[in-house]
């Protein structure tokens, strides 16, 4: 691999641009395929290019055969996953570092200064903005999960509103079934239709009998993983 190719891969991820590295396994030559551009040592015809971009969209890697029977390996290199946690509460404290270990860039959003402190979240990006403004600025995409944990509708609802207008692959909201039903009622009244509301995982997390904040964090991260890997989002 040319050093320049490696640098381009690293730069693409830093800039949150997906890119596929296509390697001719016979010659070792490599070409980079971006959603709108191609850069590298060999060209691909229209059909092959479409196949490579299908792999890229699905974040999938694998060997494909070209027309002249050479084996090409397609490596999807996608932007890092992101998790936006609304509510710098007790559950967020174990959830943030766990998600970082799982490969997510984590931002904790909470305008309440007593909660959103560096001391409570060492090494984690903390945003003290209002959830709707903070989320709009963070612009959740298909590689982003959003979880609201504040229990406070003044903070959770505006965050969920922005999340539902985004392409986030996972949206979860902490709260009992009763709380969640009330929340759905408010969002319905605000104009959201059922398919949108069905995107919200609530009560958040997989049912694993979690009790402590750390266990609840495990159940939330497990639920996010399920959505990411098995596409249970709408």
């Amino acid at each position: 691999m040319k050093a320049e190719t490696l640098e381009r891969l690293v730069r693409a991820r830093a800039e949150k641009r997906p890119v596929a590295l296509v390697t001719d396994l016979g010659t070792g030559l490599q070409t980079l395929v971006y959603p709108e551009a191609v850069h590298g040592s060999f060209s691909l015809d229209g059909a092959m290019l479409a196949t490579v971009r299908d792999y890229l969209r699905a974040d999938r890697s694998g060997v494909i055969q070209s027309d002249d029977d050479s084996r090409l390996f397609v490596q999807a290199v996608c932007p890092r996953l992101r998790l936006i946690v609304v509510g710098a509460v007790h559950i967020a404290q174990p959830l943030a570092p766990m998600a970082m270990l799982a490969g997510y860039d984590v931002t904790v959003v909470d305008p309440r200064r007593a909660f959103a402190t560096d001391e409570r979240f060492p090494g984690i990006t903390v945003d003290q903005g209002w959830p709707d403004e903070a989320l709009a600025a963070l612009a959740p995409d298909a590689r982003t999960a959003v979880v609201t944990l504040t229990h406070d509708q003044k903070l959770d609802d505006p965050a969920l509103t922005v999340a539902l207008h985004s392409g986030a692959f996972y949206i979860g909201a902490l709260g009992s079934r009763k709380t969640h039903a009330a929340r759905l009622g408010r969002l319905r009244a605000a104009g959201f239709a059922e398919p949108a509301l069905a995107r919200i995982h609530g009560p958040v997390g997989l049912g694993i009998g979690a009790l402590t904040p750390a266990e609840i964090a495990v159940s939330i991260l497990a639920d996010i993983t399920l959505a990411l890997r098995q596409g249970t989002t709408v």
């Binding site: 050093a3 490696l6 690293v10 070792g28 999938r60 694998g62 390996f73 999807a76 290199v77």
Partner: protein
């Protein structure tokens, strides 16, 4: 899933370390790491990432030194049916094909 490996490989290379990159390109049967998983190895044997659950990393790192020396990319095939001299079996009975290349 290849998070950090490419970044680490790039920073090693920028620091004038000689680096090889191993990538899982195909798997058959049970295999601990999916296609696309990567392991970077430097000339001193430092490793980041993985291409299995620890079963074949030592063999890949050994082969990586050859790739770093001669620059020729290689396809390595690990599995119960493999008969090459550097064969390392996978305890799980699976088979993994690994592409190994030098970062120039």
């Amino acid at each position: 899933m290849q998070d950090e490996v490419l970044e680490r490989a790039a920073s090693w290379r920028a620091g004038n370390r000689r680096v090889a990159l191993a990538t899982v390109i195909a798997t058959w049967g049970s295999s601990p790491r999916p296609v696309g998983s990567q392991l970077a190895v430097d000339h001193a044997g430092a490793m980041v990432g993985s291409v299995s659950g620890g079963c074949i990393e030592a063999a890949v790192a050994h082969e990586a030194q050859q790739v770093i020396a001669d620059g020729e990319p290689r396809l390595l095939d690990f599995g119960v049916t493999n008969e090459r001299a550097w064969e390392v079996g996978l305890a799980c009975g699976g088979r993994v094909e690994v592409y190994l290349e030098r970062v120039e």
